[in-house]
């Protein structure tokens, strides 16, 4: 080897050794990639609507049923647009505590809480909606759905309303949550007329409204009431009232929206109320639901199979001071074959962001 090569190698090594202070030390600790993050929070967002206004808008839509839009909770469906409670605020409740709340709702119907709620899937959160200010809530989207072509939506005072469907933070984002708010133009007025109790006392003592809905394909966004389902109280306080609807001004003791307490025990609409006496709201109410309708033999059943549909019982506390609302679905009566034994694994779709399935 040439002397110059040796010499240059030595010099080069020396020069590079002088650089080694800039290299990360071998085997030494690397900067930690970890941070002490604060406790996780879950963002919560969704829609808010008045289910009675939704029904009113659908029932009075000026087109034959076969030409009318479907009853589905999707932006753009006119029934939903007319049922948006402009000026409502949605809160995510952990018991009696507000975990977080939204800004007042605009005609866009959507809401999102400001900071998020603690992520803990053991907590049964509930959604509560109410007027954000003394100015109250405006309903009906009158500018886009003017009279006389569209039946004017009665305006009313709205009461704090809690959904009885539990929300669990199965993800750091809970989307498409359905909050509801109910006013005095619907069942509350009809119940007041029937029971003789003022609406204020009905709410103060505790009242629950239960919608029985037909099974659908699209999670709980389809909103078709299912008449002919009997709802009976199995245990707990309160009286069950079957509710029905007709065009306002056609039946005695109707509410401004057209709801009334039915004289029949089984609601032809699929809508019930549980009115609780004073001081009894802390006890749970257990309800049984039975489909009393049978698809006649020979008649082609619907996509969800023939009736009677199976239904799950319901059990909940009717909270005093708020209107409690439950949407409960019948199940399809279809029977599906079990998956083949040797079916290969395919990852399932993650629906945890819906926080309820």
């Amino acid at each position: 080897m040439r002397a110059s090569s040796i010499f240059s190698s030595v010099l080069l090594a020396a020069a590079l050794t002088g650089c080694s202070g800039e290299l990360p030390p071998e085997g030494g600790p690397s900067p930690s990639p970890y941070t002490a993050l604060p406790p996780a929070k879950t963002t919560v967002s969704g829609l808010v609507f008045d289910p009675e206004a939704f029904h009113f808008a659908a029932a009075t839509f000026p087109a034959p049923p076969e030409e009318s839009p479907p009853r589905i909770l999707v932006l753009g469906i006119p029934y939903l647009t007319r049922a948006v409670p402009v000026g409502a605020r949605v809160s995510v409740m952990n018991g009696a505590t507000v975990a977080d709340a939204s800004e007042p709702v605009t005609p866009g119907a959507t809401w999102q809480v400001g900071q998020g709620v603690p992520t803990d899937d053991t907590i049964a959160y509930a959604l509560r909606a109410e007027a954000a200010s003394p100015a109250g809530i405006v309903i009906g989207a009158e500018e886009d759905f003017p009279a006389p072509f569209f039946e004017p939506m009665p305006q009313a005072r709205y009461h704090p309303t809690t959904s009885l469907s539990v929300m669990r933070t199965l993800n750091t984002s809970c989307v498409s949550q359905l909050a509801m708010v109910v006013g005095e133009a619907g069942a509350l007025s009809a119940l007041s007329q029937r029971t003789g109790k003022s609406i204020a006392n009905l709410v103060k003592d505790g009242v629950a409204l239960v919608w029985v809905l037909a099974p659908g394909f699209f999670f709980d966004f389809e909103n078709n009431p299912l008449g002919g389902v009997a709802m009976t109280k199995e245990a707990g306080p309160g009286t069950v009232y079957a509710l029905d609807w007709a065009m306002p001004g056609t039946v005695a003791r109707q509410s401004p929206m057209g709801f009334y307490v039915s004289s029949e025990p089984v609601s032809a609409l699929g809508y019930y109320a549980v009115v609780v006496p004073p001081g009894a709201a802390s006890e749970p109410v257990a309800l049984g639901l039975t489909d009393t309708v049978t698809t006649p033999e020979g008649e082609e059943p619907g996509e969800m199979g023939p009736r009677p549909y199976p239904l799950a019982p319901a059990s909940f506390e009717v909270r005093p001071g708020v209107v409690s609302v439950l949407r409960t679905y019948a199940f399809p009566s279809l029977s599906f074959p079990p998956p083949p034994e040797d079916e290969e694994y395919v990852p399932s779709t993650d629906l945890s962001i819906l926080c309820r399935f």
Binding site: L12, E22, V346, P347, D350
Partner: protein, 632 residues
């Protein structure tokens, strides 16, 4: 006197350069492996901004698909009304006046990085499944590209992509037209002010762009049928029932050149206000320039919609103007033992997206909503827009999200199964998107919801020890710049000792260096992490690595290597000897002719299928003599 041996100068050189020989950052502090200003491209730090120009059915569009208005400009040749590709892929609504604006920054240097022009018919025509002639006639005689030289056009590859559960997308490619194979054509870019004065000009050649290959989704002329079932036999002319009945039809010519090989070829936007137009004249269509109305904006007058970062690297509430660029960071929650996660433990990660100047692009805890993105209110953050994919046939892909995989040593290519030999979240090919495609339309209120920056990933109970990877996939478009980034972050599970990739494939930087660095291409994944590509690309819906990587290079006229020489990219023999219909057909179009035809259409998870190692006895034990393979 003997001359001074020059070799003795070498250590002097080292000392003079201040010992930078092992520093992989250049003196501008840009990240990456190289020392050149564009390796990788780093927005303002690179000295010139990459410009992407897109057009759909004659109207300029933004990367979110919204058509661009000409404003108050008199612009003959630019439509008053535009098709809105975001109307849907079942059909476009009526044309109507556009409102979006393409802004460019005054007095800034730009270089053309992408020109993508699509002319498409969306589910309105060419609905005869058996007729491959009529779509081609439309392209040649009626499309916006009818004046091109279409001589030599032939029906090329017919690609069937599985959509899952027995449903497919059939795409017939028309290839070999003279304009497609041209190599000496040019694109003259002129910036014109509102008075019609040309303020600056730059001319690019076709060769100034790396990507033009239909395999990568660039220039393509294709006729697509979506939602059909598998054909009963080769050449079946009747569409079989699939997931969409009747199926959707889409005919398009897309002229697309992307990824600049010469970003030093720049032009300066004039320092003027108001409106103007970027006019691109293609030498193959000299009488029909493409017009992109622009609005000149001043960088200093950008609204303060970004967020100053705090000492913790997360957004504060102080708002500042945004700059160009996209940098991604992730914060991982400290594991319970302080050093590494254990199997079964939940890992929390917090995503932080910044511009190239270090400003936060979003609030600390929330990302913009889908509506923010579509309305141009997301500080440029992009989400997966399936209409851009299906109507525009986009490839640069606006999607963003994350994926967690590991340990690195177990990241092996999978063939025909979802039972992965490594931990993956999600398990499916695609990442966990911040905004899931399809959901803004389907789920009430989702489009308006701001998504979280915080995510929890539970490691499997049998997660193996080693180094794991979080990949952040990001997209940002602002003031003409359009960027993709796929950044990698590492953490430990089960042990402190680091592990690394299997070392099966590599050497991409042999060609993909400098301005052509992988950081600058497509997703923007660094060459250090190419062995992570397979963790998404094992499903037909997003393409299997053994398919499109081969096809991309084999059909590229820029890939000059011996196509039989597998050793350039395959570092081990094992990685190069795994025959399957998918792998073999990637180079040898129809490797088995009509044999095993039905296997080609079997779902990924069912064996036998096109991914199976069915040819091991034939082509594995005794590999084809024409393949030059690694010896071990």
């Amino acid at each position: 006197m003997k001359s001074f041996p020059k070799i003795l100068l070498l250590p002097l050189v080292v000392l003079v350069t201040s010992c930078d020989v092992f520093n992989v950052e250049d003196n501008e502090g840009t990240r990456g492996r190289g020392a050149a200003a564009f390796d990788p491209y780093s927005s303002s730090a690179s000295g010139a901004i990459s410009l992407s120009l897109l057009a759909f059915n004659g109207c300029a569009i933004l990367p979110n698909g919204e058509p661009v208005t000409r404003g108050d400009l008199e612009l003959p040749g630019y439509p008053d009304q535009c098709d809105f590709l975001n109307d849907g892929f079942f059909g476009l609504g009526p044309a109507r006046p556009p409102t979006a604006r393409l802004t460019v920054v005054r007095n800034s240097l730009y270089f053309l990085r992408e020109l993508s022009l699509t002319d498409a018919l969306v589910n309105t025509s060419h609905m005869n499944f058996a007729d491959k002639q009529t779509p081609a006639t439309w392209m040649r005689k009626h499309s916006r590209f009818k004046s091109l030289d279409w001589s030599g056009l032939t029906v090329g590859r017919e690609n069937w992509k599985s959509l899952g559960y027995g449903s497919f997308q059939r795409e017939v490619f028309y290839e070999n037209a003279a304009w497609m194979v041209s190599d000496d054509d040019t694109l003259k870019v002129e910036v014109v002010d509102s008075a019609g004065v040309i303020r600056t000009t730059q001319t690019y050649s076709r060769q100034d762009f790396l990507a033009e290959n239909p395999v990568t989704g660039r220039t393509r002329a294709s006729w697509m049928t979506t939602g059909v079932g598998a054909p009963r036999f080769p050449g079946d002319t009747e569409p079989q029932p699939g997931s969409i009945n009747p199926p959707l039809y889409h005919t398009a010519v897309k002229v697309s050149f992307a990824n600049s090989t010469n970003p030093f070829k720049t032009f300066r936007i004039p320092d003027i206000s108001g409106e103007g137009v970027i006019r691109v004249t293609w030498s193959l269509m000299p009488e029909e320039p493409f017009l992109f109305p622009i609005t000149f904006v001043r960088e200093q007058e950008r609204e303060s919609t970004c967020y100053k970062l705090g000492a913790d690297g997360l957004a504060t509430t102080e708002q500042v103007p945004c700059g160009f660029g996209l940098e991604q960071a992730v914060h991982l929650n400290t594991p319970k033992n302080g050093k590494y996660y254990m199997p079964g433990e939940t890992m929390d990660l917090l995503v932080s997206l910044r511009d190239g100047d270090g400003n936060g692009l979003h609030q600390r805890d929330l990302l913009p909503s889908w509506n923010d993105f579509m309305g141009g209110q997301s500080n440029g953050i992009g989400y997966f827009n399936d209409r851009m994919l299906l109507n525009f046939r986009d490839t640069s892909s606006t999607e963003s999200g994350f994926k967690v995989v590991g340990p690195l040593q177990d990241l092996k290519t999978v063939y025909g199964t979802y039972a992965l030999p490594y931990f993956s979240y999600p398990v499916s090919g695609e990442p966990q998107f911040y905004v899931t495609p399809g959901m803004p339309d389907a789920f009430p209120g989702y489009a308006a919801a701001k998504q979280p920056t915080r995510y929890s990933v539970k490691l499997s109970d049998n997660a193996k020890p080693g180094t794991y990877l979080v990949m952040l996939k990001g997209h940002r478009a602002v003031d003409g710049e359009r960027l993709n980034r796929l950044d990698s972050f590492f953490f430990q599970v089960g042990q402190e000792q680091k592990t690394t990739y299997p070392g099966q494939i590599g050497n991409c930087q042999t060609c993909h260096n400098g301005v052509n660095s992988l950081d600058n291409l497509h997703h923007g994944l660094s060459v250090d992490n190419v062995e992570a590509c397979k963790t998404c690309h094992f499903e037909p819906q997003v393409g299997h690595v053994s398919d499109f990587i081969h096809r991309m290079h084999m059909s590229s006229r820029k890939y000059k290597q011996n196509k039989s020489d597998c050793t350039l990219c395959h570092l081990t023999r094992e990685s190069a000897v795994r025959p399957s219909l998918v792998a073999c057909n990637s180079c040898h179009l129809n490797s088995h002719g009509t044999e095993y035809f039905d296997v080609l259409f079997e779902d990924l998870q069912n064996t036998p299928n096109a991914y199976g190692n069915c040819a091991n006895a034939c082509h594995g034990v005794t590999p084809p003599a024409g393949h030059i393979l690694p010896t071990k």
